[in-house]
Symmetry: D2
Subunit: 341 residues, 4 copies
């Protein structure tokens, strides 16, 4: 078989580990051939390829990013896009695709599968918000980077008796905030799933100062204040309820400084969370995803996605993966809440 | 309630995170009181205690080791040991125990529970070889430390065209070798569950050199050569089939050097794998174990141990935890084997 | 002798290492007694102290921040401040001070020395911009943190074919940008000492894309565009020529995106650069500074500061330390410039 | 000019950074051409080359090891070796060499220079024991790796009330032990330059236990007990006074356990100290060495080596570099000694 591989969406530590495992097992065990498509769905759409053999995947396991490049191109939003992809695959003699990506990339894969393209999916989202898998690779790396930053910021907060607000990734789901906040010993964790009460946050901050410690607040970029505060804020929230100008972290630090009279600073971790070498957890998960994805392709089990269930890799229909966002359930947030303040 | 807490067996990153979570929630949410017992079962046996309140657990989340100390003392191997513990607990007004430890420590907890002591267990083993939980804390940290060492050793191996054998922890189970080997891109992984064929290992090494790369072999301290080689070795194996003098890593490097005629070196990671600050995965798991252990104690659900099942914390009978060693199953090893060579 | 110790200004990895060395040698070798003054010059001014003996400095070597706390209080800006300090020192029986801090803190120390207070200084600035010492502790840690972030951002830049602008600390001196940029393989490094030509920066960016690589630009928070661009910017620069709203990194990313038509993102490292455990270089330097500062105090060599000259610790008059800012000289910047683009 | 580049001796983080800087500036600024010689002096001797242009040095800055490979081949120990090198260089049109290496490699360079070969040297030794430069690259990385291991081992030592002996690199000079021991807060540091008194070491250990802390001893691989103990040891020392069988660390742990009756363990860090990505200090130093080495070659300043003097890169005659080993001077060891116990 001649199989195309592509990576779409935001980059994520572990992408190269998936590619390597797919190719190593695909060539070594099954004798398949591979084509690397560049820059996500743009690759098969525009016929942009690069060689992808055992030699090309040497040494890429520990490297962040993706050797194939990525993009957010969606062939269903381009006239004739789907037909062009089918035509290109046929002309290149590509029998099947392994698509590694998040909601958007796998959404395209799902629809292409329904239109007859032979495709297997590998879930990827640093935010850990895809259904049908316990964890996605990249998440553990992001959480560790955020935790290390929080560890560092504790000493600064203590030395200066100030509040530090750490804004982490997570536009729609609070997984990174929840895990890095728990791991970093944050005093408050704020997530998109649970609009927060600013007064309560300020109470936690003041309580913390009373016991002679300095507060660290971890906030998802997508967290929003609850209704009461939205009214107070007026036009400062955008159409989706997101705080504009400088982000929620900066806004929160300003509010806390104003209300407590004590210095508060925001740190926005940003893209440092998604680059660089993956943790062992992510390298093992990504490698196992790759090994099982090529098994599925070899068996012709199309329209499936690999996923983690406990310690096992399973296959689930692609359509399930993107059906709904996996957000932080109430009980997992409550579990953490007892450590606030 | 007045609850004693103790940590037994080898130290493990995450012990302090458990202690902190138990005390924070126990005091803050339930209003219990705590006593720290020093040095594992030696503490209740000899009445060695230290204060354990919210103040004492401040700042310990990121710290490796255990603030309570540890030991391998087994009260069942000491005459009158069990009676002494019961007497001490009664005199100190300690109503229940939370015991954090591995096979031995939880074995004692199980038997004490059968003799009427109110006890809840928290599983701890850096080797990840306890049944009834998907993972134990400390394991992820050990795997990451080993992986980072392997990453470093790759560049040395390549620069000098030599084989590097990395000996990692794992006397009876190969989990650390399997995961760190997968994560580090080892060319061969050898584990105690699968006696290895030295000839095959040498084949992998020579094959690797043929493709102009230098081999890294990851071996569990408890791995042993298969029968054929044992005969060749003669008296060099001890009564349990373990290679004496210098460990299996050193022996293997010597054999490879002898048979390939190319330089081979062994690195024994040893205790560096079990100290230091825990990874985010281990801090979160340990914290959640602690939060759920104090729930169990609060509810009087004695004789139970907390465990991880998928992404949930569950309770299992203590007796199940220690029933048998969780070793690497054949299919997980085979999964990795396709990447050898 | 009874010696007070204080730490002033922004926190910096290595402060605790200095304190520990001062106390360990001061007590163990010379038999002096110590008083910890809290929060910089606020401590002696308001009589805020904490015990400072061998027990208090146990285990603090690897910890970031300062166990004594810090502030920017300047007794010369408070009426009667200096007299109050002298009175407090006399009443507490404090014979001398060891002041650890930057330009401001040592400026106060210099003037107090001229007014008869027995004081020894230890230089501290994460920016490395103090004269009379080759390096200050904290700088190496900050550079490593920035470098690790740059390493991570390279993979993101490559995967998305975008420019990443990394804003690092350095309001008046570009040392952190220069060293982290060199270490991280930045394509352009922009520092306060050298107003930059935006056109040239854009040329480097486009040149980099032409060779199929993605640019990383490292910019000091205090860097400014050269005159030509200031005119274009109009009111967007503040009175000191600093770009307002979002900082220079954000501004630069916007300009590059606008002019190249290719995505550009800014990452502001902020306070993560100054917290956390020090590197070995900083721990050794800070420890040696502490050991030599207590020697100076023991010998009554007041009004001096310790400094690094090559591999030796030397003593220099306090007044020299703060005479002028140590900025990046033209030849060191030119050395790096050949690697741009 | 057509310039050959080679790396000899043990691998060392920073070698690739030197190569990259030489080639980037050599091509970009001066327009020279480069040839990569493989495996140290073996390369020019046997005519083993690889292409070395701007493309080949892309992305190698953060990578440990050497893309050119290394060996300990000495052409002066091979009959006709020198003539063969001269002949090969002439035939390949190689006008000059940049040799990066330690005592042996630069020793060869020195003699070849005397025989008319145009050569510039770059000093490399992880042990920091080359004269004529304040520091060599690789040393800072090794010290940081050792320090991190010591940090980890502290928590294990404390939890189990045991002594941990950490054996670090340094056969003839104690720089790595001194710096990592100071940085890691070791209780005793033992170096080759100062034969140690076992009784005193045991005193420090027991003193440490008395204050309820657990000792960490850092020992260079080349450290030896003083005469009195050598007699006791009998045949256990080899001809050079080095302890055989298992190394000095293992021997010392056994002795301490025997004499104190408390558990002691040895950890031998070995090759993990020399692999992997360099620290910022080493990347900057190596890059600057490379930039200045190509300047020297461009100017035809043959027979010179670059070195670090304070914060400046200087040139010194090659012959000075290898004249004598730079060992730890008495005053630097004494400085650290006050922190023992």
């Amino acid at each position: 078989m001649r199989i195309g591989v592509l990576t779409g969406g935001g980059d994520c530590p572990g992408l190269n580990a998936v590619i390597r495992a797919v190719v190593r097992k695909g060539v070594g065990t099954y004798g398949h051939e591979f084509v690397g498509f560049k820059d996500g769905w743009k690759g098969p759409l525009e016929g942009l390829t690069k060689p992808l053999g055992v030699q090309e995947v040497r040494g890429i396991l520990p490297r962040g990013g993706t050797i194939l490049g990525s993009s957010r191109t969606n062939p269903f939003k381009i006239e004739g896009g789907v037909e062009q992809i089918k035509k290109n695959l046929a002309e290149m003699g590509v029998d099947a695709l392994i698509a590694i990506g998040g909601e958007d990339t796998l959404g395209v894969a799902t629809k292409l599968h329904e239109l007859g393209v032979q495709v297997v999916g590998v879930p990827k989202t640093i935010d850990n918000d895809l259904g049908a898998t316990d964890y996605t690779f990249g998440f553990d790396t992001a959480v560790n980077i955020a935790m290390e930053a929080i560890d560092r910021l504790h000493t600064t907060a203590e030395s200066h008796h100030r509040t530090v607000v750490v804004e982490v990734m997570g536009r729609h789901a609070g997984w990174i905030a929840l895990h890095s906040g728990l791991a970093g010993g944050a005093n408050v964790i704020l997530i998109p799933e649970r609009p927060f009460d600013l007064e309560k946050v300020v109470d936690h901050v003041e309580n913390r100062f009373r016991t002679n410690y300095s507060p660290i607040i971890v906030v998802s970029e997508g967290a929003v204040p609850a209704e009461g505060d939205m009214i107070t804020l007026g036009g400062e929230l955008d159409a989706f309820g997101h705080v504009r100008l400088g982000g929620i972290g900066t806004w929160l630090a300003e509010q806390i400084e104003k209300r407590t009279g004590k210095e508060a600073r925001a740190v926005v971790l940003g893209h440092t969370q998604r680059g660089g070498t993956p943790t062992a957890f992510d390298r093992v998960l990504a490698t196992r995803f790759g090994l099982h994805a090529i098994d599925a392709a070899h068996e012709g089990d199309w329209g499936k996605m690999v996923g983690l269930a406990g310690t096992d890799i399973v296959r689930v229909p692609l359509i399930e993966a993107t059906r709904e966002l996996k957000t932080v359930p109430v009980e997992k947030y409550s579990e953490a809440e007892v450590l606030f303040g």
